[in-house]
């Protein structure tokens, strides 16, 4: 292990390292306690939470694709109340950042959800999922409209008290910089990007879609080039810190995102490749930095020679 400093200072919170886990891929965190010390992570973003419990979409909900996967879980979750009662107390929130991921269908509901979470000591920050692409068979989703992104962000901010607000952007837009500016205008303290790409898979034998929901979100290494491009565009468009997400599967991948300007990253689908993936990346990062002659993340960040 190296003695390199991997601390990341963000508005209203400090991460011991830049490795967070992505919402929906790490459950409520506790599922992974058998595979590493949760407190060793930079932070945990838990499964999308709604005001009331949700059953999500019908099965099948997942499909494997080349270097990636599709999901249309439909934000099945136990609801914010059960989360705060049954899960949060068991998470090491004094030792690492525990970030809620908020899911709702309109600005008002988002505000309510934010208000509930804002009052809870164990919640480090709130991430707003305005970018769920799991809409039944097309149509333009919520998070693809800058006006709505701004409205939701404002509403969450109004209710979030002192908790930092992260807005998570969808890549399924013509201009992600526009979406980023809308979120920042609405008061976002940080942005995370990207959520999944809208995709589809079918079975020529049964002639059915592989997801009951027909469309789902594409994630995994396959989308990394798109995620990296989005993060680069967003970092150039706004000045709030950006958290990179999408296809990260190694410590090298983490540095890719930091090189284009990200402050931190989230590990998603890679948690399925092996459940200790995020822990391994967090522990391998300092040695890799040393090997590459990177003294600190602050110097390295955004140092792309383009």
């Amino acid at each position: 292990m190296s003695s390199l400093d991997t601390i990341v200072r963000l508005p209203g919170l400090t991460l011991k390292n830049p490795v967070l886990t992505a919402s929906g891929t790490f459950g409520y965190g506790l599922e992974f306690a058998r595979y590493g010390n949760l407190a060793d992570l930079g932070g945990i973003v838990v499964k999308g939470l709604s005001l009331k419990p949700r059953q999500g979409n019908p099965m099948p909900r997942i499909a494997e694709t080349p270097c990636g996967m599709l999901n249309a879980i439909g934000i099945q979750n136990i609801g914010v109340e059960a989360f705060l009662r049954d899960k949060l107390p068991f998470l090491p929130w004094r030792e690492t950042a525990v970030i809620a991921n908020l899911y709702a269908c309109d600005a008002h509901e988002f505000g309510e959800l934010a208000a509930v979470l804002a009052s809870v000591e164990g919640m480090t920050a709130l991430e707003v999922n305005v970018s769920c692409p799991n809409v039944k068979e097309g149509g333009v989703a919520f998070g693809q409209n800058p006006g709505q992104i701004r409205a939701v962000t404002e509403e969450v901010k109004r209710n979030a008290g002192s908790k930092p607000v992260i807005v998570k952007l969808s890549p399924n837009v013509t201009d992600i910089a526009d979406a980023a500016r809308a979120a920042v205008d609405g008061g976002a303290d940080m942005l995370s990007c990207i959520n999944t790409l809208m995709g589809m898979a079918v079975d020529i034998r049964t002639r059915k879609p592989r997801l009951a929901n027909v469309y789902g979100g594409l994630s995994g290494p396959a989308i990394k080039p798109v995620a990296l491009r989005c993060v680069h565009q967003v970092c150039r468009a706004v000045s709030v810190p950006v958290i990179g997400v999408g296809g990260i599967a190694s410590a090298e991948d983490i540095l890719d995102f930091i090189l284009v300007g990200a402050h931190a990253v989230q590990v998603g689908t890679a948690n399925f490749m092996r459940p200790d993936a995020a822990f391994r990346m967090a522990s391998e990062l300092p040695a890799l930095m040393e090997k590459l002659g990177i003294d600190g993340l602050d110097d390295f960040r955004g140092s792309l020679r383009a």
Binding site: A33, Q55, P58, I73, Q76, N271, F272, M273, R274
Partner: protein
């Protein structure tokens, strides 16, 4: 605070033995991995993913734990698709990532007459079950299969009261097997225990019979899985309380009356 030991390990391939195949049925292999350092309860499974898969095939593959013996972790693999085919090409010495043991397990009720119903590769979890049962004389196996019986590790079932293997190569044989299934299950309807593992149509049949006969029966489900640890919610099954629960943590073993199989389930009509 929870312990931070890591239940995800890199094990070595000790042995990969082809057991048979061809004749229209996918080939079968016995895979033995270096001792994992844990024990298990029959019905549990592991997730397996060789690091050499690199970035393609992003999910591990769930395999029932056939047994853990001194020489290592035993698995049976039927090569039916991309992943299991690549698993079947593993050679001794190669490294595979394994996490587990995962999920719940089959009921063990030593004094109850116990009927094991296995369809094809569904035999896997019963290898350890039969060997570890305190009173094997109370256990009977009924096994429907497509490959010749010699392809399966039936010697492991030697101590049982009875082990019957029925080949189902054509629709006729299959129909006869299902008939036989019903007949046999009838004998366990009162005070017995029926445990089933196999393809979904097989489980559906067993479930229907169990509900009709009011037999106490457990089914081991083979839902598609991404994480295996309860996190992704991709593997859910609908339970008796109309909840969607993770097959990987609430299962893979369910009581017949406490689970709906996909074609039983009314459309959920869930919103995105």
């Amino acid at each position: 605070m929870l312990a931070s030991r890591n239940n995800c390990q890199d094990l070595r391939v000790v042995r990969m033995t082809p057991l048979g195949g061809g004749e229209g049925a996918p080939p079968l292999f016995e895979l033995v991995l270096s001792p994992p350092g844990w024990d298990f309860r029959p019905g549990q499974f592991i997730m397996i993913r060789p690091p050499e898969w690199g970035l393609d095939l992003v999910w591990g593959r769930p395999l029932s734990i056939a047994d853990v013996r001194e020489d290592g972790l035993r698995l049976l693999v039927q090569a039916i698709g991309r992943g299991t085919h690549r698993l079947s090409e593993l050679r001794p010495g190669q490294v595979v990532t394994v996490w587990g043991p995962l999920g719940n397990s089959f009921a063990v009720e030593p004094d109850k007459p116990t009927l094991l119903l296995a369809g094809g590769i569904g035999i896997a979890p019963f290898v350890g079950y039969a060997r570890r049962h305190p009173k094997p004389e109370n256990v009977t196996l009924l096994f429907g299969h497509r490959l010749p019986a010699e392809s399966y590790p039936l010697a492991d079932f030697g101590g049982l009261r009875k082990a019957e293997a029925v080949r189902e190569q054509n629709p006729e044989q299959l129909a006869r097997f299902i008939d036989h299934l019903g007949q046999t299950m009838r004998g366990y309807a009162h005070g017995g225990l029926v445990l089933a593992c196999g393809p979904e149509p097989f489980l559906r049949t067993v479930r229907k019979l169990a509900l009709t006969l009011k037999a106490r029966a457990q089914l081991s489900l083979e839902n598609r899985m991404a994480c295996g640890v309860g996190a992704c919610l991709g593997c859910v099954a609908r339970n008796g309380k109309d909840q969607l629960v993770q097959t990987c943590t609430h299962g893979p073993v369910f009581w017949a009356e406490d689970v709906f199989l996909s074609e039983d389930a009314a459309p959920l009509g869930g919103k995105p």
